[in-house]
Assembly symmetry: C2
Homo-oligomer: 352 residues x 2
Amino acid sequence: MDRITKTVKNIDTIDYKLMEATQKRLDNLTKPLGSLGRLEELAKLCVGITRNENPFIKNKVIFTMAGDHGVAEEGVSAYPKEVTAQMVYNFIRGGAGINVLARHAGARVVVVDMGVACDLKPHKDLVIKKVNYGTKNMVKGPAMSIEEAVKSIKNGIDIFEEEAKLGIDIAGTGDMGIGNTTPSSAITSIITGKPAETVTGRGTGIDDKTLFCKIEAIKKAIKINRPDPKNGIDVLSKVGGFEIGGLAGVILAAAAKRVPVIIDGFISGAAALIAYQLQPKIKDYMIASHCSCEIGHKAVLDYMGLRPLLDLDLRLGEGTGAALAMGIAEASIKILTQMATFESASVSEKIK
Amino acid sequence: MDRITKTVKNIDTIDYKLMEATQKRLDNLTKPLGSLGRLEELAKLCVGITRNENPFIKNKVIFTMAGDHGVAEEGVSAYPKEVTAQMVYNFIRGGAGINVLARHAGARVVVVDMGVACDLKPHKDLVIKKVNYGTKNMVKGPAMSIEEAVKSIKNGIDIFEEEAKLGIDIAGTGDMGIGNTTPSSAITSIITGKPAETVTGRGTGIDDKTLFCKIEAIKKAIKINRPDPKNGIDVLSKVGGFEIGGLAGVILAAAAKRVPVIIDGFISGAAALIAYQLQPKIKDYMIASHCSCEIGHKAVLDYMGLRPLLDLDLRLGEGTGAALAMGIAEASIKILTQMATFESASVSEKIK
């Protein structure tokens, strides 16, 4: 636990004073006041997070974490469990959606086995931090032990810090795990206090009957496990997943290292909720990339007061939304650091 | 007029059959069906527009057109008229918002003087297609003659075709013109049939009193000039602008050449309305980049049935929103052409 406590304590309030000074600089650039809207907000936020007046984005990293879920045996997904491992190999070969979009954004993808249900072939581009061979079925008891929950978050912190040695100017989160919208909906229901049926969607594309079973499974898991909504680690152990814990660790570590972190979709959002319960200051370090079609995602964003950048009806996960939003965040910083001022460009200022 | 008629006639229905085949290809990629949402729609649209199964985006071009407005003498803007010319020089030196964001997107910016009120110093990066030295004050009569309206659209077509010789795989629109939200609101009110007060906003940042005068000016201009809402050229001549006509020409020419065109903000939207009145098929060739804070923009998008990609509270113009959205459009095509299939990646397909 010490490792997590230390990381949580290292998360400071962002630098509002420097952000104010940054707004003044933005107001001197050749554009009407505030006319670049949220791009200006983003640039300021990156300054406030990094405490660097002129942030420079060179190293972009997306952490795509994989894990299996015992609850998949309840038939909550449209895809067989084997797909988790198959997709990890796809990530390593560079053929998945996240690979295409990360290349487009100029980001590297760190693929992590946090808890895939089988032994994966070692590969130079695969980080193995397996906590266990998939979680247990949360309908029948806790998905994992408290020790495993702590270990999954700790592993996430370790991976971030390891990668930070190679340089990380901006981070993104991503997930892979057949069945993982089910724990994400459970986490969302518990932490936001919203009924399971209002935060549970069709995941990879299930029919009405399966959706009904999924909601029932979530209700049952909450009833049996009685997680404490205020205790992120308890929620994670009762109804979470190893990749979700790992991503919560990545988010905490990023904030502790003053690195902006772009949150992908619903599963990443559930991980963010876990991190938020451990340290509410984390909110200011997060950039919400998009709002997923998965209905629980809006509840997640609303709970933390985050507004997404993109409106693209995405529901793939893997970090795909984060990769797309990374380009927008980078653009915001270029606005701050590359635009001419009224004075340097000899442009007249506002009359009134 | 012949040139415009010919271009309008050359705009064909997009290739729905090829789009259907493209959806089948998208469904074979390693992701749940439809899970990349609007990114899949965009990829399909680019195929349908270009009639190319594997569109390739290399040449990205943003047309940033400038013009002055007689109605500025009514005091409708927060900035002095000289800013139009000053900003054109800023574009040429690469210091404006559009330059920063176009560089970020890997796009070239074509800066055009469509009707700036003074003679600009010739420069290799400035295209001079001046129709006149600014429009007349539309509160006192037509902003321009019918001949000038036709010429401004024709000039836009010419510029696009000239640039197309260097290659254009995707185009974006952008504007500069002190006072140009006033004609844009007038165009929007006339074509969508919505009252002026519901489609008129604060432009570069005017106060309540100025906003009131701006709305009055628009109402008066519509009353005096009695434009025919169904006749795009008539509307353009009565209450338009030279850069707005030029952008309408760019949009028409792009569609005729089967090039997807990304529409920037409110002024570009008004230009799109003019093009739409000339050829409703144009709608399928347009990608709406964002929804501006300028309240009339939503009416523009709703009228044509376009849904914006970004939610960034932008209101700068110049093509800044188009530049940001260009990265998303490019990403969508990479998804189609670079992702692995279930078969090639040996990933199991959906169970049910």
